[in-house]
């Protein structure tokens, strides 16, 4: 008489291995059905990974863009939103900040060690689009702004050629200009380089002499940075030539490690300069590049959440597809289930086999989705210069994790149906 093993158990590696074969087998036997089953999952994963890649790219570029304006800088503006957008009704009544406030703050606040002012000139002045002209070359994407002499130092601007304008040029309202790299190329040819210096650029019919050309910016949306089309003229010149444009951004550089206290001190001084009573709210807005990036991240997180919701719907549809295929598979293989039971498979062995198949099918869909997403992001780099096709790790993890979960959820009922079969009935089942 032989001794009986109490209850045999199947090692998971064996069931994964054999289920892998079986899953591959059933997919090969009916590739169309398998493709239909996983298409929902593919779409879901593609959506999530594409949005994730784009978000991460935009976020990195936004971060770079604002960090290029100085990570130690506090920006002060009389409105709270985007300086180039129209203000809300309440904020529209606010007076722009005076460009000389920066120097007052720098003098009075310990934590502020430098100040600069930037005057924003709209691209349409008196109903006419601003354009810059040099000889026969014209650029109508020019972004004109007034800048104090200290501006380039405060934002850490890099010069490819020439120099910033001087304090004297600012005070004298000289017609000099520092131009961005794209503008220089547009007006003087892409190889102009140093030859741009001393050339004249016409703005509203008046000539400005180029004293500096900026290096190309690193940040920007998909390789475009409007700052590369900038034509910076002295702030005093801007006030004189564009008297209606007085929207001023103050750049206040905090001493190393004192960004927090700088913000408090700037607020105190600005409130006094703006003559605000103790109960009146601020009529200006302070921000730092990290705060702006933080705001963007909150928007990005919202988009990411919405995408995940969208993906959840795709995964649900995908899950229904998987469940369908599994139900068909269980029915078709009823006899096989009976056979396995007759050979000693326990109900949990059968359950596990079909669950593993379902998960493998879903993971296949997830992997296809990731592959398609990788392909699409690679294509995006061809269309969008500066776009880096990095699929963030969390998107890969989410993709594979959620397909795995979908497989378990979708496969559970069919697998339980298989596991609950009566072996006698199952063996008697006619092959389909």
């Amino acid at each position: 008489m032989k001794t009986r093993t109490p209850v045999p158990h199947v090692h998971w590696r064996d069931s994964v291995g054999s289920s892998l074969l079986l899953a591959a087998e059933s997919m090969r036997a009916n590739p169309g059905r398998a493709a239909l089953a996983v298409i929902g999952i593919v779409i879901g994963i593609v959506t999530v990974s594409l949005v994730a890649t784009v978000l991460v790219n935009v976020r990195n570029q936004v971060a770079l863009l604002f960090r290029e304006l100085g990570t130690d800088n506090v920006f002060a503006f009389h409105l709270s939103g985007d300086p180039y957008s129209p203000a809300s009704d309440e904020e529209a009544r606010r007076q722009p900040l005076d460009r000389r406030f920066g120097d007052v703050i720098a003098r009075e606040s310990d934590a502020v060690e430098g100040a600069a002012a930037q005057i924003l000139i709209p691209s349409v002045v008196n109903g006419r689009a601003l354009s810059a002209r040099a000889g026969s070359a014209v650029s109508d994407t020019v972004l004109v702004e007034g800048a104090s002499a200290s501006f380039f130092d405060i934002v850490g601007a890099e010069f490819a050629h020439g120099r910033p304008f001087t304090d004297l040029e600012d005070r004298a309202a000289a017609r000099v200009a520092v131009v961005g790299s794209s503008l220089s190329s547009a007006l003087f040819g892409s190889g102009a380089g140093e030859a741009a210096l001393g050339r004249e650029v016409y703005l509203l019919g008046e000539p400005y002499s180029v004293v500096g050309v900026l290096a190309q910016r690193r940040g920007g949306f998909f390789g475009e940075n409007r700052q590369d089309s900038v034509m910076a003229i002295p702030a005093a010149t801007a006030r004189r030539r564009f008297p209606d444009s007085d929207a001023t951004v103050l750049y206040l550089r905090a001493a190393a490690g004192r960004l927090q206290s700088a913000q408090t001190e700037i607020e105190t001084v600005l409130r006094r300069l703006r003559r605000l009573g103790p109960d009146e709210p601020n009529d200006f807005n302070l921000s730092t590049s990290e705060q702006i990036i933080g705001t963007f991240d909150r928007v990005g997180a919202g988009i990411a959440l919405a995408t995940i919701g969208l993906a959840a719907v795709s995964l649900l549809i995908g899950g229904i597809g998987i469940a369908n295929v599994m139900i068909i598979a269980v029915t078709e293989r009823t006899r096989e289930i009976g056979l396995r039971m007759s050979l000693g498979a326990r109900r949990q062995d059968v359950l596990r086999q079909f669950l593993i198949e379902s998960v493998l099918l879903s993971l296949l869909g997830g992997a296809c989705g990731l592959a398609v997403a990788a392909l699409l992001t690679a294509l995006l780099t061809l269309v969008l210069p500066g776009f880096r096709p990095v699929l963030p790790l969390w998107a890969v993890a989410f993709g594979l994790g959620s397909s795995c979960l979908t497989g378990i959820l979708a496969g559970y009922l069919p697998a339980r149906q298989a596991a609950g079969m009566d072996p006698v009935e199952a063996l008697r089942h006619e092959a389909a």
Partner: protein
């Protein structure tokens, strides 16, 4: 699991076994008071017309099903009291099934088919391979191990199935019309295989309705209407 094994016990012992199915409002008595004892090493044929209850009896003997009433002791273990999981273990360890339709996994190699019971027994890959090879050699298919079952002839397929039934060294080989899908020459070969396995000590139970098949066995039990109507030694 009960373990009161009396010495010299029969391999299997059925006592007053009933199996009743409910078909709609009607009760079908598939087995109606069956008593049967089989000793180790016997070669038994179970005969009967269709509907006589022989399939039901085979399912009970193979522990695929449990009796409605009565007792079934296999190797001293009271089968009627076992859980699904314990029944699966018994099928794995004690019973070797051979079916009329072979029931091999198509497009799977002979070796993998034979390994299947060992997978459920929890054996290592290496040991499975070794045992499955030996079982295939025993049925004369040592040179067909890597063939997929759909590349094999009917006789070869049934040999693979016999190897699969043997691989776990079960107490009973339970064959249900094992030659039903084979031509007469191949049938003869398969029956020769069973004879040979019985000579080397295996207990063989054949379920069939063919007299010339039953003639291979040493004892024939005939069923009608769920009752044993004859039980005689033939050799």
């Amino acid at each position: 699991m009960s373990d009161n094994i009396s010495p010299g016990a029969e391999l299997l012992e059925l006592h007053d076994v009933h199996k009743v199915y409910q078909v709609g409002s009607e009760e079908v008595r598939a087995l109606d008071g069956v008593d049967l004892s089989v000793s180790p090493g016997e070669y038994l044929a179970i005969m009967g017309a269709s509907g006589s209850g022989k399939s039901t009896l085979m399912n009970l003997l193979g522990c695929l099903d449990t009796p409605s009433s009565g007792s079934y002791r296999l190797n001293g273990v009271a089968v009627e009291a076992l859980s699904d999981e314990e029944l699966a273990a018994i099928r794995n360890q004690e019973i070797g099934f051979v079916f009329q339709t072979f029931n091999l996994l198509a497009r799977t190699t002979a070796l993998s088919n034979v390994e299947l019971p060992l997978v459920y027994a929890g054996l290592s890959k290496k040991e499975r391979g070794r045992k499955a090879e030996r079982a295939l050699e025993r049925v004369g298919l040592g040179d067909r191990m890597a063939h997929r079952s759909n590349e094999l002839s009917g006789g070869q397929r049934q040999r693979v199935a016999v190897a699969r039934a043997l691989v776990n060294e079960p107490s009973i080989l339970l064959a249900d019309e094992p030659t039903g899908n084979l031509d007469s020459t191949t049938s003869g070969e398969i029956m020769e295989l069973f004879d040979q396995l019985n000579r080397s000590g295996n207990t063989v139970i054949l379920v069939t309705h063919e007299d010339d098949l039953a003639a291979h066995a040493h004892r024939t039990v005939t069923l009608r209407d769920g009752k044993i109507i004859s039980d005689k030694k033939t050799q």
